[in-house]
Subunit: 226 residues, 2 copies
């Protein structure tokens, strides 16, 4: 069985967990604390980042490379249910939005919130969260919520008419922000409705059951109707 | 003819310029100063980052998405000369290294050097370079040079026996670092030989002719034999 080294509140790990669940790929989950910089983990990926996926083809690193690999391995033959569309324009738009959330949203919002509120708490080199960074992330996320709302009020799903990697990338990051209580659900009604829809999928259930030791999730984290 | 909005010393733009040249795709180059945040440019890409590629399929943003698009549009039928290999393990390794240079090397080295030494000089909100960041980047690059040396002394090119996107991603970032005079060519002999080989390709010539106003490139920047 393939292995996934992941950290429960790492948004990139969550993106891959959602893909595996949607594609029905059974994988053994191994919790890895990337901030421990365990030598055996660094041997799998010199960059020491979660997630790492290991199967008969070896260790595959970074969520983007894993996502491409999984789509090529398991997406074929799924027709309209393929999560990285094969139709050219839909493919470009899906990839654009995956990059938007995995890079831009992570740099402006989820990376800071997870680092300051979660990683610093559990890392040996941790410390108190830098509240200036937390405040900037909380301001930035409002623009992103409106962007999600704008896209999903013009389309059925984020990248178009069909559910795609774009939705799972966005939801993976947003779910971590929601765990730490910083998702502003009052900002945009369409964004909230989109998140309710994706949160109701069976693939999402294991994420909603995740708990970080000593950290209670935000008030609506596990609620499907909020 | 397709358009490429690029900035001459943006490593992500250079990655795409090299791909276009290698695949023989003629495109009109339009110089864009991303730090000016020109409204017409933000309309193409709300994130406001170079490069942006525009053809009949519309505007395509981020170097990774453009690279995937170009390989799918122009790589087919090139057999062993395809720059994103179709063979599974070579494909994974190429993508891993493209991410390594476009994300990790950029975060640890080229992003800081280009921002501090180039963007700050020309941006209206600029200022003096933060020399602490420059020093950290100069220390970090030595590890990367040894990693390039390690890979290319075990393989013909970075990701394996054949030239691939991995080589062009690495060379794109390294060429910007070399422009600002911070590439330590004494660090690793194999890394230097690999760079000499890729630098000699016709696709590289236009990059070696780039000049930023008032900034003389590093001493060996345009030399093929250094």
């Amino acid at each position: 069985m393939p292995l996934l080294y992941h950290y429960p509140l790492c948004p990139h790990s969550r993106f891959v967990r959602l893909i595996l669940a949607e594609y029905g790929v059974a994988a053994e989950l191994i919790e890895e604390r990337p901030f421990d910089r365990r030598p055996e983990f660094l041997a799998l990926d010199p960059a020491g980042r979660t997630p790492v996926f290991v199967d008969d083809d070896g260790a595959i690193v970074t969520s983007g490379v894993i996502a491409d690999y999984l789509d090529e391995a398991y997406g074929d033959g799924r027709g309209p249910h393929r999560l990285l569309p094969t139709e050219k324009l839909a493919r470009i738009e899906t990839r654009r939005l995956v990059d938007w959330f995995n890079v831009k949203f992570f740099e402006e919002v989820s990376g800071w919130l997870v680092t300051e509120k979660v990683y610093k708490r559990f890392s040996p080199q941790g410390g108190a969260p830098d509240m200036d960074l937390v405040r900037v992330a909380r301001a930035n996320i409002r623009h992103h919520m409106r962007y999600i709302g704008y896209l999903t009020s013009h389309r059925n799903w984020l990248a178009g008419d069909r559910l795609s990697y774009a939705d799972f990338a966005a939801a993976a990051h947003l779910s971590c922000v929601d765990y730490v209580g910083d998702a502003p659900w009052d900002e945009d009604e369409a964004a909230k409705h989109w998140y309710q829809r994706i949160k109701s999928r069976p693939a999402f259930r294991p994420l909603l059951a995740d708990r970080a030791p000593g950290m209670t999730p935000g008030p609506v984290y596990a609620l499907l109707d909020f």
